[in-house]
């Protein structure tokens, strides 16, 4: 059945390929036209790329949460964007208090670490609670059921945090230590960007080592491969699932603080857009695939940052930066249509098929 659909070349295929082809043509023509205008020099492009990498590393961290959970439970944890939001929103109060008392200036490293620790703790707790309350009782239910629960949990969390902390935007205090930038010729990176990229890289490295070499990590991979067999091998599947949610939550919490440092503002709706983009990143890299999520995030970040200007400016589209999110969504749709297994292929998904 599956083969016959894949091998047959139907009207649908033609339609899809025309759609894809025209979008690619648009992108190519737009890029050439933009480059031909010469409005932007290498310096701007480097700037765009660095901004993209910064954003991309945050997406990667969030995407890991989606990918880890998907790898094990085969479900999209819609509430992950709220897990991401909960940490920095709660940690804001600590940051604000420390900023006002001057502690952040006196003892910046410890202060920032404390913010991270609090955010990570809150996000982890939220992730575990969601798993416990909304997902665990539904294991083995038809697929639509946990998906709807996840959507419900997502809205519930958003508005619960709105109720806790109020609906207004909260501005993270300025941190003296993160002001300024590193300049190397054409390359200019602010300290915040450096912090974000380095911290994200370190965390991803740590996660990779954990999943590859630790006993729990191996158990996680075993559960992702085959739950029943893993359980027969003496692995406590429920505990591994909780651990997975905790890992995803912790990464999301850290990503949230990084996001708050870059954009300085936090609010209860802040999770939605990064969440959906991180999901795109996870799909881009091949959902269930850990290195894939990392690469997917970086790639999406760069495309999103370069894309609107590069693709659309040359086509005389006014205010292309407004279409930044649309570029990301179009990419998501295109990937799911043309290569649902993602760029890095299906290391985990194929086995399960």
């Amino acid at each position: 059945m599956q083969k016959s659909l894949a091998t047959r070349f139907t009207l649908t295929d033609i339609f899809i390929y025309i759609l894809g082809g025209s979008i690619i043509a648009l992108v190519v023509v737009g890029s050439i036209a933009t480059l031909a205008t010469g409005l932007y020099g290498p310096r701007q492009w480097i700037d765009f790329t660095i901004t993209g990498l910064t954003l991309g590393s945050i997406y990667s961290l969030i995407a890991l949460g989606y990918t880890l959970v998907y790898g094990i439970l085969r479900m999209i944890n819609f509430a992950h964007s709220e897990v991401f939001m909960s940490g920095p929103l709660t940690a804001y109060f600590l940051a604000d208090a420390m900023g006002k008392s001057g502690y952040l200036d006196e003892n910046p490293v410890l202060g920032i670490s404390l913010i991270f620790i609090l955010a990570i703790a809150v996000s982890t707790i939220v992730a575990v609670l969601v798993e416990r309350i909304a997902y665990r009782p539904l294991r083995g239910a038809p697929r639509l059921v946990p998906l709807i629960t996840a959507i419900g949990a997502s809205f519930f969390l958003q508005y619960a945090f709105r109720g806790f902390f109020g609906p207004n935007f909260k501005v993270y205090p300025e941190m003296a230590i993160l002001k300024g930038a590193l300049v190397l010729g054409d390359l200019k990176m602010s300290y915040i960007q450096i912090l974000v990229i380095v911290a994200a890289m370190l965390m991803m490295l740590g996660l990779n080592l954990f999943v590859q070499y630790s006993k729990t990590g191996k158990a996680m991979r075993a559960v992702a491969e085959d739950k029943e067999t893993a359980a027969l091998m003496g692995i406590n599947v429920d505990r591994i699932i909780v651990t997975t949610f905790m890992l995803g939550g912790a990464l999301a919490g850290a990503a949230g603080v990084l996001y708050a440092l870059v954009y300085t503002q936090v609010q209860f709706t802040m999770g939605f857009v990064p969440g959906i983009k991180a999901f795109t990143a996870a799909v881009l890299g091949g959902i269930g695939n850990i290195p894939g999520a990392m690469l997917g995030g970086l790639f999406l970040g760069v495309v999103e940052s370069l894309g609107p200007t590069l693709f659309l400016e040359g086509l005389q589209v006014p205010a292309p930066y407004q279409l930044r999110d649309a570029v990301a969504f179009v990419m998501l749709v295109l990937i799911l249509i043309f290569r649902p297994a993602g760029i890095l292929g299906e290391r985990l998904t194929e086995k399960k098929a």
Partner: protein
């Protein structure tokens, strides 16, 4: 008494009650922390006696005790011990509120973090009697209500039941005061004695209590006799009665906007629009099992088609200013087209991925409408203004009271189509796809055609809704078409019972109409939606009015505890995203 319980230590015996009580406590403290109790306490139910915040506290006490007594398989503990179990659960529940009160008293600065933990909340939960007295009152209320519930289930007696029903009804009338006040506006005498500035008057409540209790009592004594007399009537006579009743109901439905006035007509029109969308999404999600989270896109397409083509505003580059009735079918065609165009690429995507892609589509449509790039055509963030109202002959459908009829007619037509489709060959094909795509295909169902028809027809219903929406409001903004609408429609489907047409109507009334009666509710609307989605999925995934076939599918999963996920609903995602 259960013999197994004899050799259990007393502490262990009460452990479930304590656990349920603590859970209830978490819920009520949470409601306090997010400001729900305080917001609701502004609504009086019985003026000066009871407000909605306190009512919620009592209802939570009551439910806690009930769940503490509940045993698996839907039975309730009916023993003498029940009193103690219920009482303990209620006490623990109340104790958690006392803890909250203590925290609020000794740490008022907590308000700087949790914005809703205000002194007003403290006043509310301590009944404005100070911490000590208030706490004692709370504990008494919790334990008392809990013990009462336990006693009630131990010795259910008809008089007690009648009392409970009567009190609930009186409180319900108090809750629905806005609606009733408008209904009774032509009888000023009645509303003057029943209602205060907010809520029922004490006298009104007592009066209602007496009347309702009397009615129940009469019914208990003579109800069987009345039923017997009705059944003894000759059939034509009985038919005549039911026909009269039916005619009366139709008359009420037709006169509703004039009875209820402008504000409620507006709500009814909104409910109607959501019924239209719900019936459409019901075809896509309920019948065909394709979870579409970007459904609002078609609503937007319908609205923008109507907007662009009928507007008189010169700011839109292309504005032919055509007539509503010409554009209505055109909007339908365009949205069917939109449904198919968006449907073709996702034909091979299933389940979770489908949800995400459609969500992406919905957002793309909104972002395009919002962008400056298409501003000359769609008005950007300012939207489209000056969309004229439709005319029927010389009659302008100027306000919601007139629009109501248009929406009702639309709903009736669409409901009829949906009903006919459901049992048609196509409808059965959709349900087969919902159960298992691969099997459906091997049974000779053309997946491409069937799925595209689902997307197209589903989109057309939303398109009509959108077109009416545009001309009703006169102005449309891209912000009116965000993801929340899609979630809202999905939620009402799930509440009502997916795949079931009366379920859609009930769902819209509950989720769209009811919140309008509690305007304070606005801030917590999505919170409650989210909670309702989760709770429904955990407790009653088939919805309030389940469709028989779907209920069966879900039953299957419940009774086979360790079973593999059934292939139903969206089918297992074998190779993610690819059929």
């Amino acid at each position: 008494m259960n013999p197994a319980m004899l050799n259990v230590t007393p502490r262990a015996k009460f452990a479930p009650a304590i656990r349920v009580g603590a859970l209830g406590g978490i819920i009520i403290v949470f409601m306090g922390m997010i400001g729900m109790l305080e917001t609701f306490s502004k609504r009086q139910i019985i003026f000066g006696v009871l407000d909605m915040g306190h009512l919620i506290i009592f209802v939570v006490f009551y439910l806690t005790a009930y769940f503490a007594l509940k045993r698996p398989h839907g039975q309730v503990e009916r023993s003498q011990q029940g009193r103690w179990h219920g009482g303990v659960a209620g006490l623990v529940n109340a104790a958690s509120l006392v803890v909250l009160a203590i925290i609020l008293t000794i740490l008022p600065a907590i308000r700087n973090v949790f914005v809703n933990m205000t002194p007003a909340l403290l006043e509310l939960i301590t009944f404005e009697k100070g911490l000590a007295v208030g706490s004692i009152l709370l504990l008494i209320a919790g334990a008392g209500l809990g013990a009462f519930v336990g006693y009630y289930f131990y010795r259910p007696n008809p008089i007690l039941r009648e009392l409970l029903f009567t009190i609930s009804l009186v409180l319900l009338i108090g809750l629905l005061q806005d609606l009733l006040r408008v209904t009774f506006q032509y009888i000023p005498f009645l509303s003057a004695i029943l209602f205060e500035t907010s809520g029922l008057s004490l006298f009104g409540a007592a009066l209602l209590f007496a009347i309702i209790l009397g009615g129940f009592e009469q019914w208990r004594r003579r109800g069987d006799g009345w039923k017997a007399r009705y059944n003894a009537l000759p059939t034509p006579k009985r038919k005549q009665y039911s026909r009269t009743l039916f005619g009366f109901l139709i008359a009420v439905v037709l006169l509703l906007p004039w009875i209820l006035g402008l504000f409620f007509s507006e709500i009814l029109v909104n409910v109607g629009l959501f019924v239209l969308m719900g019936l459409g999404l019901n075809i896509v999600v309920g019948f065909a099992g394709l979870l579409d989270l970007g459904y609002v896109a078609f609503f937007a397409i319908g609205a923008y088609t109507m907007g662009v083509l009928t507007t008189l505003s010169p700011e839109i580059a292309f504005h032919p200013g055509l007539n509503f009735w010409i554009i209505l079918p055109f909007a339908l065609v365009i949205s069917v087209f939109g449904g198919i165009v968006l449907g073709v690429p996702v034909l091979r995507i299933r389940g979770d991925y489908l949800a995400i892609v459609t969500l992406g589509f919905g957002e793309i449509i909104r972002l395009l409408a919002l962008s400056d790039a298409l501003k000359p055509y769609f008005g950007g963030s300012r939207g489209i203004e000056a969309i004229p109202k439709p005319f029927i002959g010389p009659l302008e459908l100027i306000g919601p009271q007139q629009m109501y009829y248009l929406v009702i007619i639309g709903c009736l037509i669409v409901a009829f189509i949906a009903l006919r489709l459901k049992n048609s060959r196509l409808g059965r094909a959709w349900m087969a796809i919902r159960e298992d795509e691969d099997v459906a295909q091997s049974m000779g169902i053309d997946l491409v055609k069937t799925k595209l028809l689902a997307f197209g027809i589903g989109a057309s219903f939303a398109g009509i809704g959108g077109a009416i929406f545009a001309s009703k409001l006169g102005t449309i903004y891209p912000h009116s078409f965000n993801l929340i609408i899609s979630i809202n429609v999905l939620a009402l489907l799930i509440i009502g019972g997916m795949g079931n047409i009366p379920g859609v109507i009930i769902g819209s009334l509950v989720l769209v109409g009811l919140p309008e009666l509690f305007r304070e509710f606005e801030d917590y609307r999505l919170l409650v939606y989210g909670a309702v989605l989760v709770i429904m999925m955990l407790a009653k995934p088939e919805g309030l009015l389940p469709e028989a076939r779907r209920a069966m599918e879900l039953e299957e999963f419940r009774h086979t505890d360790d079973a593999v996920p059934p292939e139903g609903i969206t089918g297992t995602l074998k190779n993610p995203g690819q059929a």
